[in-house]
Symmetry: D2
Subunit: 402 residues, 4 copies
């Protein structure tokens, strides 16, 4: 992503241009499959039955929005025989492959952990699974390998916390060695679930601690639903930018636990403040480390559309995020810095408030039309009949799910 | 359960007698089945394949502990053809049937709710399901029908919150009318999950509000894992006792969300404080409403043994709860009341602290042996070979799960 | 406040009219005094030195915004000799007296509680203090007596939780008997602080439980900063409206504890959802109980401007709230109800989203100018020189504080 | 502190010996002064009027418990003219000086921050304050300088988060340069309060991040009351031990915010798990970094006795901590490691449970008597008449407070 430098005196439509013509949002292949809670997965109509149909759905989201040109894969859910042929299919659909997500939490062997497991054989298997993702990244020219671990313990004393940490670092160092030279490794953190007492990579502090022991191409992935209540996420973003270690986002919203609701649907102002930190860093020529880091950050939507139709929900989510980015681009950085330096609390706060309160929807509609896109992608998709056509086409077979 | 009135000057073993010879803990049939998180259910060996095998496991817990003589059923998971024959089987195993738990959260029709659903037909179906539980309670002489609802919404605006409340009350009034005269209705509350934005019966305030609109035999069920972080559960218990509306507990422990860990495994002192409120009310002759309420409270274990073997975990949980009850019975009520009245903060607090710090395990072992039970039920079960025998016997068939 | 019934097809400016010409926001006298945390109160310039100067500041806020015509008093902080003369001063300044707030948490006798104290003499003193507020309400024709209690305990066992509840109800029944016939009693709840273990009126459930034992003119006051993390406040509002027991708000915002930040400054969408429940009830002819309740609700700002200048912050807060009300008035109720009834999750959610994303600032500016008010009250106040003039005028004397 | 290596087959009294004859608990001078909430400080009788009287109180706690031989000072609250004379007074009372705590949150200049303030002059003043503490540490041979910062912001946008971080690191590097060669610097973190939106050193991740940029003698101070709800503190302890960066504790307990209640009074099992991580590291010869770190950790009590008498509360707190340490020393490390390696969840968890459930009070009483101390320091102090004598002696003067 290119830096953002439009002056605050420019017309609003120019200032928000990057939200339409710069940003690239990554769509996860698993965003279209059946999901739910532990109590019940409610199946939906038209759910993909193969990884190719997942790519089709991601391509649909991009066709309507124009800013969702990356797709994320999950291994082994998305395993194919012919990676080159698959990559060609993706490109043909107008997409690139972003992250290869490893899964070391569903095999029976991982009941007590994967890379942190007390048994060396299980750890070796888990390392091999991540190395496999590195190989797929090499074969498909994917930008990154993303590691989220379900590792942890359910009861005090169940395992040695320092011992697990040592195994974690050693295992990931081994996997990191297999990372293709062009790719990055994202290490995600999460407070809890599936582990219910102690998660081995539980917060940004631990993720940062570990990636520093891996190498320069390792960075932290921030999932906006993975924090303890009250934690200031935008500050974590700012600090990771300052250290040059912010690599990627898994975006969604939440009210309680890891709810995986649509991005911005519960706390849109928090999302705005997070994006503001990124835009602010992109514009900060005095901090080249943070600037480069912000320019290289991946924005992925990681959501579970348990009860709402999936493609429409994903289009709406892309639009939510785009509107939020546009608002953040409207923050008057010079006025803000001046107020901050002067200690004028209300004025500085007002800079954010003014941008957030602006209705950017008409401006974005204008930019979309200029790109040959529908003014309102969500309404256009609903009116297109594509959703019903998909339901009709995708009858039979086995719907994909987690 | 009989009141507890042993004087503080009596020997400790007499004072804790009720923990061995008074209390009756209810075991849920679903406590022995395969469970997990939304990420993965890890199957275990020897899991019951029928409701009869679930009863067998509950009976095993009671055989070793001597204080777990009730079993709770879940409909439709535990549906049988012949309820009279089933009840006879339960009694033959030395158990009685406690609660009949309704399930209105797994049928496909309940995707957007059950008794609160906007569609009257779905509401009628849900009411019929609860009425069905009332009929089973009548047929089996079960003590109660327990209603926990997954009803709620995932997004702001998804449904009208007052409208859902109106439907909730009307539906439950209809179901309550079918309650057998001998039985009670327990209404459970839960902050979130499966609903991720607003749950229709979200806290004790709403549960109390609704049961007051049902009738005298309706009461509140407190699941110790269903509160927002920081909420003082023992105070809720005290207030529900004061209002005469505490009916039952779903006991378990948690660190984050509704983790369903073994009771007392994360915060044993909180469990002690909860039990203290019950014992305190049992002894409070000046508050007959609270006293009667405490004497009639049901203690059920509602846990998910995702990674630990289930029967041993259940035995350990019964022991945890029993030890906690014994400690609460050791609180010196006279000394406590005197310190409270005098405003002596450290002395009053010390009364709880002293009881909690006492090691009651040797005393309980003595009481068990006097009853012909093993001194340490957990170790005795492990040494018995029953667990392995069960693994060998329960090969093939379909293991039960949620 | 009059009901709101403008059709969704009317021009936006008509639909938001009530936000300018209907609502009346109450300003607390203590909103202008020096406040801080337990670590430090940082004094500001121009802080009122008397209750008359507090009224002057409230009147300033009303002069610039036109919708803040009520003032709330705090006893004994605002005690005067001549209540009739004082009321005349208030009216002369264009204000009416809203609530009389009792203070039973600062006298030395209240160290272990006030109306719940184990000592009957302390309870009698606390009841007398609330009765005193009732007398002031009678003398000044104030609309309400508001009771917030600091009562609670810091340590487990410190006092008997049911005993405190009994004393609470009995004490408030005594105080309620002194309430003037024209006035209402608001009972506020709070999770914690100053009590750090158990607060006697800790949540809406307990507040509702108690006011039902007082009488018809007792209702619940919701302070938006007084809940456990994650609690759904708009649902509480909806349920209290359904029961006809929502009486008043103490509005502010928070990120952690009872932070008392400017309303809408941390989670503006939550504020919108709360106001939506009120507007929705005002429009709900099918629920006359909720409608009457919503029409009678008091909106008070209860904030601590620890580091920002107080009058400007209060004007900004009134504007924040007004903008939020205007947005809630833009929700298309017919479209919303239809989508809810149809179970169309995205469409129903979109009704709220659309209204929230609208920029109502230009419309409100138009309505202000039509009323002879400045288009931007905050900027107009800053430009007026009044703030500096106040600093110059209020030199010497003792600045008011908590 | 010496390592702990007693075998699990040794008698319990030998295994817990370190809790009586090894550990040294640090008492803060400010633990005896008047404290409260922002609503009210309730003054107590007999509160120290000078730093010498604070030392007297700390010495009393040590006289009765025998394990509280260090005292922590707070500058400028404890400023004296003659540091050599003061140190002699401390030693004469049987104490050593542990940490010198800097205060950069109460001066009027620090309203918007200290070392992170946008104004370089304020930053310089704050750095000078910490350098002053370094000089006092040099003059008094104190073991450490402890830095807790109130720095942060109350509103989004108020200041630049990365900018504040840059200033933080630069300022602390400057201060660190003044640290005496024999001393360490502890950097404490805190989620919120007094800052209510973003605190500049908000969690262990940030504290670790910063101390790594200072030098080898900088470490993290964990205050047990400074975390978001649900955070696993013992895991943080384990990770900081693994990195060799755990330096010190501020011990207390909490239910909600930074409640500063007596250690172990709300969640004693959490305290046990924290201490277990320390004992476990002390015994872990395979991890010399963690072992050395655990052996060098400082245990300070940081509590506010708002309503309970202060010296008795402090003695009780020392006893609570001592009992918890004794329990942790009883964990059977060999059995625990074997169960962990075997993946035996219940057995491993049972190792902690068994130790925690042991009543160590009689054993500690025995060890105390062997040292010539009272068997029950709390009761002995109450019976001594010293508390009343102190009330009589300390009449007049100005009681110390925050």
């Amino acid at each position: 992503m290119a830096p953002v430098a439009t002056s605050a005196t420019a017309p609003a439509i120019e200032r928000i241009d990057w939200a339409m013509n710069g940003v690239n949002i990554e769509i996860p292949s698993w965003g279209f499959v059946n999901t739910g809670t532990r109590f019940r997965v409610f199946p939906q109509q038209g759910v993909p039955r193969s990884v190719f149909e997942k790519i089709d759905d991601a391509a649909t989201v991009n066709r309507y929005t124009g800013i969702a040109g990356s797709v994320s894969l999950h291994i082994p859910w998305d395993l194919v025989e012919d990676w080159k042929g698959f990559a060609a299919y993706v490109h043909e659909k107008g997409l690139v492959i972003g992250g290869i997500n490893s899964n070391t939490f569903q095999d029976l062997d991982y009941k007590l952990g994967s890379v942190c497991h007390p048994d060396a054989a299980v750890r070796a298997k888990a390392v091999a699974a991540i190395v496999g993702c590195c190989e797929i990244a090499a074969a498909t020219d994917a930008q990154a390998v993303k590691v989220w671990l379900g590792d942890g313990t359910n009861y005090p004393g169940q395992d040695d916390l320092r011992g697990r940490h040592r195994r974690l670092v050693a295992s990931l160092q081994e996997a990191y060695a297999a990372l293709p030279a062009h790719a990055r490794l994202y290490l995600e953190y999460k407070l809890y679930e599936p582990a219910l007492y102690a998660t081995d990579v539980q917060d940004w502090g631990q993720s940062l601690n570990v990636v520093r022991q891996l190498g320069d191409r390792a960075g932290v992935c921030v999932d906006t639903g993975h924090h303890a209540m009250g934690v200031n996420i935008e500050q974590i973003v700012a600090l990771l930018l300052a250290e040059g270690r912010l690599a990627a986002f898994d975006l969604n919203d939440k009210k309680y636990g890891d709810d995986d609701l649509m991005v911005g649907s519960i706390d849109p102002y928090q999302l705005f403040r997070i994006v503001h930190e990124l835009v602010n860093a992109m514009r900060d020529d005095a901090d080249p480390v943070a600037q480069a880091c912000a320019n290289g950050t991946t924005y992925m939507l990681d959501q579970c559309h348990n009860i709402e139709p999936k493609v429409p929900a994903m289009i709406r989510s892309v639009m939510n995020l785009q509107e939020t980015i546009a608002k953040a681009l409207l923050v008057d950085r010079e006025r803000l810095l001046a107020a901050q330096q002067a200690g004028d609390v209300l004025e500085a706060n007002g800079c954010l408030w003014d941008a957030f309160n602006t209705d950017v929807r008409p401006l974005l509609a204008q930019l979309r039309v200029a790109r040959g896109l529908p003014a309102d992608p969500y309404r256009a998709y609903l009116a297109s009949g594509e959703e019903d056509a998909k339901y009709a086409a995708r009858v039979g077979g086995t719907a994909a799910s987690w």
